[in-house]
């Protein structure tokens, strides 16, 4: 039986609830936008119900604690095809065991979730590093990103703590949504808007940047060049740390 959900996290939990409710031992969970048009098996669309999602969440919390919930949430944010099925397998294993199954690295689905969550964690860390703000005036700072995984919810607290006194906005141009922090209200809001005409990594057509912005970008590029030791050139290592797909968003790497 193929269970189709809307791609939201409560939607996924509702689907897990449904799999249990109908004792679907052969359930295969698919998010609606990853649906293949040709499927042989029977399928069913699951509607997101907060109450069901909360029941699953609370039940799991008793078994695998906050650490396990975080593992599942981070794996979900990877948006990788069929990650939902590893999540379902781990949920099944957790609910029928009395041990802390998160430490069973010999179990293939437990290990898979650890490995995926680790990748997501790496992407989170990477974007705490790779976000490049531009000063667009009035103490507003804007950044455009296109991460491999949906890490905005994970990086928001870091930026809130760090840049408490400035207003900022980070826009995920791949997923077409962003987050915005207002230093007066101290709130983070989620934004869904589309910059239809903005080429990725280049903001200038939309907003006027601060007069000093160009100078600081220039200074940063100059610094990046001057701090390099040419005699130690190591392109392979450089690319491993700063893969090319991120270059267009990095002030020091993008073509100007």
């Amino acid at each position: 039986m193929q269970l189709i959900y809307d791609g939201s996290f409560p939607g996924l939990l509702s689907t897990i609830f449904t799999a249990y409710e109908y004792k679907l031992n052969d359930a295969l969970i698919v998010r609606t936008n990853q649906l293949q048009s040709l499927t042989l098996s029977e399928s069913m669309e699951v509607y997101t119900e907060t109450a069901k999602a909360e029941r699953v969440w609370k039940g799991l919390k008793k078994k695998i604690a906050a650490q396990g919930l975080e593992l599942i949430y981070r794996s979900y944010l990877s948006e990788l095809p069929s990650v939902e099925n590893s999540i379902l397998e781990v949920v099944r294993y957790a609910l029928q065991s009395d041990q802390n199954i998160l430490e069973d690295y010999g179990h293939s689905h437990v290990l898979t979730l650890h490995q995926i969550a680790r990748k997501v964690g790496r992407e989170k860390h990477r974007f705490e590093a790779f976000v490049r703000f531009e000063n667009i005036g009035n103490n507003w700072f804007y950044a455009d990103i296109a991460p491999d995984f949906n890490i905005l919810p994970l990086i928001a607290p870091h930026f809130k703590e760090r840049y408490a006194a400035q207003n900022w906005m980070i826009y995920d141009s791949k997923r077409k949504y962003g987050i915005q922090y207002d230093s007066v209200s101290e709130q983070i809001n989620e934004l869904t808007f589309r910059f239809e005409h903005a080429p990725a990594g280049n903001l200038s057509p939309i907003v006027q940047t601060d007069p000093d912005e160009k100078l600081y970008q220039e200074l940063w590029k100059r610094y990046f060049k001057s701090t390099n030791i040419a005699l130690r050139k190591n392109t392979k290592l450089h690319l491993q740390h700063v893969p090319k797909r991120y270059w267009r968003y990095l002030t020091e790497k993008k073509e100007s």
Binding site: I101, E103, D104, L219, T235, K236, H241
Partner: protein, 426 residues
């Protein structure tokens, strides 16, 4: 369009970043500073590399010299007095503005400020402190600050520096005092080690006080501790000399890190140093860092890694594998019963895999397939372990040289071109 003043600041930044880049440390970890006053920034403890240069090194901090004017003439240093290069100096205000504006754009974790020594030690140190003070107090900056201690600066200044800085460091420069005397006229180990000792004692006193009072009584002094670095490959010390020196620094001064900086030929006239065109000793530097890691995270004593009968690290294999091959009698280790310390010593198993093995084996005996999936580098590890379904490899029959040969045949080292001369030995 660039104004003359922006041209000038760009030029200064080029000169003073270029002069600072031979200082290896770019660490921004080890300090937790909350953004408690709705000021700018915080330090998270883990450190963040915001980008990497084309030589593959982490860029975490704005690493610059306040000035490259210097009264010293150290042969291995690009800023030495006798070197005919462009000189420049930042004002206090310029460094503060650069730091704040880079930080606000999320380019950096903070500032690493060093300086050539102008006039005298105290004047230089005072100027470095003025910058840190201004950032912390006027601009409520909670990002990371690493200040260089200037040997010869007064104790009072060092104490003040530690109140604003997360980390203080002074470089040992060279791995032996003889070499220092030869290449750095006017510098002595005594002069360099004085601020090291002061910093380590102040940190220790603070820890004791904190334990007694159950809280930190005053602003924290250098919460990320101290580090140092040695230039290697410019002078004749062996790997043993270098690592024993490093070990003493860890023990005596509670260093957080010792850095090894492979000498890059920058002095075309001095015949005491490797000539221009000599490649930087990158493999050697790498092996020294691996040994350093083995000491800090793998429970190895420096005496196990290097000794009078084994004074140089192998360049073709890593020091852990090298140790294992010299100590075959300690293997094979049983993955399913051995303790953590023994598992950690198996070549091909790192800290992460060792911890996972300890956790996972409580659920059942582990086999080869599971070990591979856990991330064990099996090509290396197989000669040194037993697990479910796999008895002792024919280890008893194999000699260390044969094992080494098998392992090297199984992978292409990133250094294989550079070490091919050694490979032809067997």
């Amino acid at each position: 369009m660039q104004t003359p003043s922006s041209e000038r600041i760009l030029e200064k930044l080029s000169i003073l970043a270029d002069a600072a880049k031979y200082d290896v440390s770019c660490s921004s970890s080890g300090s937790k500073r909350k953004n408690h006053n709705k000021g700018l920034g915080n330090s998270t403890g883990g450190g963040i590399c915001h980008t990497y240069t084309e030589d593959g090194r982490c860029v975490s901090l704005l690493k610059i010299l306040l000035t490259n004017h210097c009264i010293y003439d150290c042969a291995y240093c690009v800023s030495r007095k006798s070197n005919d290069i462009k000189r420049a100096a930042f004002t206090v205000e310029e460094v503060v503005e650069l730091t704040l504006n880079f930080y606000k754009r999320n380019y950096i974790e903070g500032l690493f400020l060093s300086s050539g020594i102008f006039k005298n030690a105290d004047t230089t140190m005072e100027r470095l402190i003025a910058i840190a003070r201004k950032l912390r107090t006027e601009h409520r900056f909670n990002g990371y600050i690493h200040l260089k201690s200037i040997p010869g600066a007064s104790n009072a200044l060092m104490q003040e520096a530690g109140l604003y800085a997360d980390r203080l460091s002074v470089n040992l420069e060279l791995p032996s005092e003889t070499s220092l005397q030869l290449l750095a006229p006017g510098k002595t180990y005594e002069q360099i080690k004085k601020p090291m000792l002061l910093v380590s004692q102040t940190i220790q006193a603070q820890a004791n006080e904190k334990r007694l009072l159950q809280r930190a009584a005053k602003p924290l002094f250098a919460p990320a501790g101290q580090s140092t670095q040695m230039v290697i490959g410019a002078t004749p010390e062996t790997d043993k000399d270098i690592m024993y020196q490093a070990n003493a620094l860890y023990q005596n001064y509670r260093m957080k890190r010792v850095y090894y900086s492979g000498y890059i030929p920058i002095n075309p006239t001095d015949t005491r140093l490797p000539g221009v065109g000599t490649p930087a000793p990158l493999i050697r530097e790498h092996r020294l860092y691996q040994s350093d890691w083995l000491m800090r995270f793998y429970g190895f004593q420096v005496t196990e890694l290097l000794s009078d009968s084994f004074p140089q690290l192998d360049s073709d294999i890593d020091p852990k594998l090298s140790w294992a091959l010299r100590n075959l009698h300690q293997f094979p280790v049983d993955i399913n019963t051995a303790d953590y310390e023994a598992i950690l010593r198996i070549p091909g198993i790192g800290v992460q895999s060792a911890q996972k093995i300890i956790s996972a084996r409580r659920f059942g005996q582990l086999d080869v397939y599971q070990l591979k999936k856990l991330g064990v580098a099996f090509n290396r590890a197989r000669y040194f372990l037993v697990c479910r379904g796999m008895g002792p490899a024919s280890l008893g029959d194999l000699q260390d040289r044969q094992i080494k040969h098998f392992i090297l045949a199984g992978y292409r080292s990133k250094f294989s071109n550079a070490v091919s001369s050694q490979l032809s030995l067997f």
